[in-house]
């Protein structure tokens, strides 16, 4: 069964019809990427899955369970981790407190401590910054914290919204390395990226969004070799 399935999802942003019937699947262990231009509806798709944006029509299934009309905190409790666009680290909370927030739904203190140790094996830098306020971290560190925070939930699926945005090229490399590493640990990932080049390198499959609709889908290799995709998103002519 697919970890995540969207069936003909429509959503509005104010009066704008942002999603016009989105359908796709994410299978266990996959990295699936949504690529597309600004305003194509990539972030809205993730926010609709998390319940931050209400789907007006259609269904969102998590392991077969309909989560379309659940509030965000219940969707999180069912195993959807979301690394939001622009990192959205809590600026006045320390790194430790930010990570604790990620494990908000976990009551067992020892389990929280265990997960935190695991997260530090992936992001040792965060351990050094443990008592620093989130807002004082560098952009790359904030992105690491945002990912680490979502990992504290041990999500069944991790939604990542533009993790490379605003980062120096070297940091982009290392963020994608982390994504690959997480996936090898068994995390299913739905990745939204403007950096289609990197996204298609790391992903198994992908979907191309244009103005709220899926216009193309295929394996990452197929998409990377597709002339339309190359022209529009990979900067080739």
């Amino acid at each position: 069964m697919a970890v995540l399935e969207l069936i003909d999802v429509h959503a509005y942003y104010g009066h704008i019809h942002a999603l016009k019937g989105i359908s796709f699947k994410v299978e266990p262990g996959e990295i699936v990427t949504l690529i597309g231009a600004n305003g194509a509806g990539k972030s809205t798709t993730l926010r609709t899955i998390s319940g931050l944006v209400r789907a007006r029509h259609g269904r969102v299934l998590l392991n077969g369970e309909d989560i379309t009309h659940l509030p965000p905190h219940e969707i999180v409790a069912r195993g959807v981790g979301h690394v939001p666009e622009g990192r959205r680290v809590f600026p006045q909370l320390t790194v430790w407190e930010n990570l604790e927030m990620g494990a908000y739904t976990v009551k067992d203190r020892r389990e929280v401590a265990r997960r935190m140790e695991f997260v530090f094996t992936i992001f040792p830098r965060l351990k050094e910054r443990l008592h620093q306020k989130g807002g004082t971290l560098s952009g790359g560190e904030q992105q690491m914290l945002a990912i680490a925070r979502a990992l504290m939930m041990q999500p069944r699926i991790l939604l990542m919204d533009e993790p490379s945005m605003g980062l120096a090229p070297i940091l982009v490399e290392s963020i994608f390395e982390v994504i690959r590493q997480l996936n090898q640990h068994g995390t299913t990932i739905l990745l939204v990226e403007q950096n289609a080049h990197m996204a298609l390198q790391v992903a198994h499959r992908g979907y191309v969004l244009e103005t709220g609709r899926i216009v193309l889908e295929g394996t990452a290799r197929e998409l990377a070799n597709n002339p339309q995709v190359q022209a529009a998103y990979l900067g080739m002519h």
Partner: protein, 382 residues
Amino acid sequence: MRKAISQSVLYQALVVPLIQLFVFVAISLLVIGSVILILAALFNRPVTGGMTLLQFVIRTLPQVAIDGLVIGFLYAMIALGYTMVYGVLQFINFAHSEIFMVGAFIGVELMLALAIPSTAPLMLIMAGILLAVAAGMVGSGLLAVVIERVAYRPLRGAPRLVPLISAIGVSFFLQDAVRAIEGLLNNAFYRNYPSFPILNQQIQLATFTLAGQPIQMQIQAKVIFIIIASLVMLTGLNFVVNATRLGRAIRAVAQDRPTAALMGVDVDRIIMLTFLIGGALGGATGVLFGIRVGRIDPYVGFIPGIKAFTAAVLGGIGNITGAMLGGIVLGVLEGFAGAYLSQFTGGAFGTEYKDIFAFLILILILMFRPTGLLGEQVGQKA
């Protein structure tokens, strides 16, 4: 390492706020007191009772400071209700002054129902007051939750002015509701807290001589109660906000509501609990205030409410530490203004001008620090 963390959190949450409070008290007294002394020295001249202005100020300053601090603690506790709600919703709960007033009424009704004889032993009286404070906390806390549910939550998506008007409406409603209920039950809409001679007695704190002036510091017994209660509550609140899972969630919601929801926080529940805590503090303060002034009526919340709101803005609205600082500064300013305005101006401006003076200072401070004394993170939100 985990132990070290939890210890440092405990330290952060219990010891630091107390030190902070002490520092705030010391600094505001030192700064404002020195200014008064310097002014007195500059404009020194004979005043009443064969004393010079400077002698008069030295003789009365410690006492005035204590009285100002007590008012300041009361303002600080009310201010916390405004600032916590503002922190999570960026909304001024103007009905908070009436939540405070209802707390005062719940307290007085309970005290009157208990009918503790005025000569009862101290322990019994204290138990009665504690019970009244607890009842005020529960009643006002629940009232705040109901108000949020009925009058604010349905308007959450509306433009910011709309819930503000709703809050003002709730204020009038509560004033008139209490007035109606008390009028029907007692044929009068004011109530008097029972008075206990043992609590009204003055306790000598210190008697000494400074610069040739005999100085007496004394404190009313019930004021000690107010001070202890406020210290316990201010520290308790700090502990909840800074060292508990709930407090972390409150701060997360205040900083970034949608992201807090993505962490699995039930944002509506956290907002409800914030109203509960703020309302409970307001209710407790209402009871303490009532015990201090004795007579209360349905409009008794307005002035302390406005001043506490001012204190919250002065400290930096949305900032809990700032609310405490703002309350203390405003209380001390007001106490000093009330005590010395008439002597300094040769009787031209009496004690009744103390509020004008205190607010003048406030406007001056806000002209130079629009975000308030401690409010640096407000700017990035508004």
